[in-house]
């Protein structure tokens, strides 16, 4: 039978704890803070260095200072080694939350664009994907204007030929009339 004895120890990190447990502690910290600030303002850099060392003696230093430890659970099983669990709470501040959401939105938008573009029916259609090649080197052929233009040019040529034919015909008639007159004479 394994008898598990769980001991519970609450660790109070001095700086990150928003609610100090004892009045005296609160007084001490506020006092020390006040001291720090006053010294910093009055004396300058070297004084801050010295005050830092004093503050280090006042509070405990964490390896991960922004990683507030909530509890350490020690599971004690007889005949085995203790299982020690470090329980911590990880909070995001406002800026970090903002960053996370920004990244999320950017990724979503990029994904919509990218994966949306891969499914474009136009690019998958025969109109775009068919084997083309009229020598122009373009995928999309706008030939309508050219066709119309050449049709009008053709029309112009036809009219010109008609006009010339009419003139020539008129000249021929005149010539023939002249010949007939000569014959009559």
């Amino acid at each position: 039978m394994a008898e598990a004895v769980m001991s519970f120890a609450v660790v109070k990190p001095h700086i990150h704890n928003p609610l100090p447990t004892t009045k005296s502690y609160f007084n001490a910290t506020s006092k020390s803070l006040r001291q720090c600030s006053s010294i910093g303002f009055k004396k300058g850099w070297h004084q801050i260095e010295s005050s830092k060392s004093r503050r280090g003696s006042l509070s405990k230093v964490n390896a991960l200072p922004d990683w507030p430890l909530m509890a350490i659970v020690v599971e004690h099983v007889q005949g085995q080694r203790d299982i020690i669990l470090h329980k911590s709470v990880w909070h995001l501040n406002n800026d970090e939350i903002k960053n996370v959401y920004t990244l999320y939105i950017m990724f979503t938008v990029w994904g919509c664009c990218f994966f949306g573009a891969t499914k474009d029916p136009y690019y998958d259609s025969e109109q775009y994907r068919k084997d083309g090649g009229d020598g122009t080197g373009h995928w999309v052929y706008e030939k309508q204007e050219d066709m119309e233009e050449s049709a009008r040019a053709e029309l112009w040529r036809e009219e010109l030929i008609e006009e010339i034919e009419q003139k020539v015909g008129g000249l021929r008639e005149l010539e023939e009339a002249g010949k007939k007159e000569k014959i009559v004479k």
Partner: protein
């Protein structure tokens, strides 16, 4: 002209181009120059014309523009007459130097001076607002440009409906679709069209849209040398003149109210006499029909049961289709099919088939109900096909649609039904020459038209029948 009449017995130091100019803009130009007696003028016998034809005599635009130099002597090689049809340099094949293709002594450096002095136009763009009717009436202007500037390439930018006209016009090179009447054009289309126009490097751009500052800016950005446009006759034209080189104030807000001569101001300006160039005569409206369209239409009317030269075209059936080819200046120009059925009865007993041209397939049933199941119905929306149909017919009975103008252009006898006599005069100015009989409604509404009058007018189709 009021100011120059104040100076009797002296020629006007700033001779006017034939365009109408208001007396107010005219006044300061002659005000600054002292009038000279004619004997002091060295060239008083020679009638001078303006150097830069479009130079506006507005002192605020150019304070140093004193107009024509009266002592300038023209008559040189470069400034006179019309432009040459082919602008390439004269070629000398016997030249031993391969890179000098032109004959010895030919000064290439000043060869292009003529184009500057004469105001040559090699590429011209016409921006035409309105539909089929307005574009059809622009044909004479295009012909005029062709005659005035030999070798010019005319391009057209117009609405989608209007563009369809240009399969009937041999004088046009490119026809592009852009709706100038849109007040808020799609930015992509706007910039695209602007780019197209700029890339073609036009020398002259003509616009028949009434321009305000916005449209004038569009024309200005086209970078054409001559930017010619109609402008609003009211305060909306403010600022447009600064960006345009020649402006015509429209008579009314609707240019189409002018009827057949709706572009008369522009024609006046284009046909203006230059140095050694007489005033250009205005050509009549002419259309040419491509062979392919003729063939297509022939199968169409043969399917409808008509023969070549033995039918009369009836056009102008009331419909909400966009293809009814009305003029913007005459909105009351369509008749319901019941009236047409009555008129058609008068035609049929002469052994001629009436062909009903429907602008939309949905009217086919209505026509069949009113006229009978054996009625000849042809579905035609484009002016090209309509012209081909009219070309093969005896004549046309139509309300004020493009069909009347096409019949006049192809010299076919026609009966035009108008809502009022004034509209008839405006849209068909000389009906006698064109074998056009005008029947107008007495009340001013087309629906009240006298059908009996139309039936008696049908007599004009008798003449060709006698030959058949």
């Amino acid at each position: 002209m009021a100011a120059s009449s104040l100076l009797p017995k002296s020629i006007s130091p700033f001779p006017k181009t034939p365009t109408q100019k208001s007396a107010v803009t005219h006044f300061p130009a002659s005000f600054f120059s002292a009038p000279q007696p004619p004997h002091l003028h060295p060239f008083s016998t020679q009638k001078p014309t303006t150097l830069i034809p479009n130079a506006k005599e507005n002192r605020w635009l150019d304070p140093f523009n004193d107009g024509e130099d009266p002592e300038m002597e023209y008559g040189s090689l470069f400034a006179d007459g019309k432009q040459e049809e082919d602008p390439t340099l004269p070629n000398n094949p016997d030249n031993p130097y391969g890179f000098l293709k032109f004959p010895a002594g030919f000064s290439v450096e000043v060869a292009s001076l003529g184009s500057k002095l004469r105001g040559d136009v090699r590429r011209c763009c016409c921006l035409i607002s309105g539909g089929v009717y307005e574009n059809l009436l622009f044909f004479p202007v295009i012909q005029l440009i062709k005659d005035r500037y030999p070798g010019v390439q005319v391009d057209v930018v117009t609405t989608g409906r209007g563009k369809q006209c240009y399969e009937l016009n041999k004088n046009v090179r490119w026809a592009d679709v852009y709706d100038p009447d849109q007040d808020f054009p799609d930015p992509a289309e706007y910039t695209d069209m602007l780019g197209i126009i700029r890339n073609r490097y036009y020398e002259m751009i003509l616009s028949t849209k009434l321009a305000g500052l916005g449209h004038a800016a569009f024309l200005f950005m086209s970078t054409a040398r001559d930017r010619v446009s109609y402008i609003y006759p009211n305060v909306n034209a403010a600022g447009a003149g600064l960006l345009l080189s020649e402006t015509f104030t429209a008579d009314t807000m609707n240019l189409s109210d002018g009827g057949y001569h709706m572009y008369h101001q522009m024609i006046d300006w284009l046909a203006r006499p230059g140095r050694n160039v007489p005033r250009q005569p205005v050509p009549p409206l002419k259309v040419s029909i491509p062979r392919k369209v003729k063939e297509v239409v022939e199968t169409k009317y043969k399917n409808a049961g008509a023969e070549k030269g033995k039918y009369i075209v009836i056009h102008g059936i009331q419909c909400d289709s966009k293809a009814s080819m009305q003029s913007k200046g005459d909105p009351d120009s369509l008749l319901p099919i019941q009236v047409w059925a009555e008129i058609a009865e008068a035609v049929t007993y002469r052994g001629v088939r009436p062909i009903f041209v429907i602008p939309h397939e949905k009217i086919r049933e209505d026509v069949e109900e009113e006229v009978g199941w054996d009625a000849s119905i042809v579905f035609i929306t484009t002016p090209g096909q309509l012209a081909a149909l009219i070309n093969d017919s005896i004549g046309v009975i139509a309300t004020n649609t493009a069909a009347i103008q096409l019949a006049n252009a192809r010299e076919k006898p026609s009966i035009a039904l108008f809502c009022s006599a004034e509209k008839g005069k405006v849209f068909v100015p000389n009906p006698g020459e064109k074998q056009c009989t005008i029947v107008s409604s007495a009340t001013g509404k087309l629906i009240d038209i006298d059908v009996e009058a139309v039936k008696t007018a049908v007599q004009i189709f008798q003449m060709p029948l006698a030959f058949v």
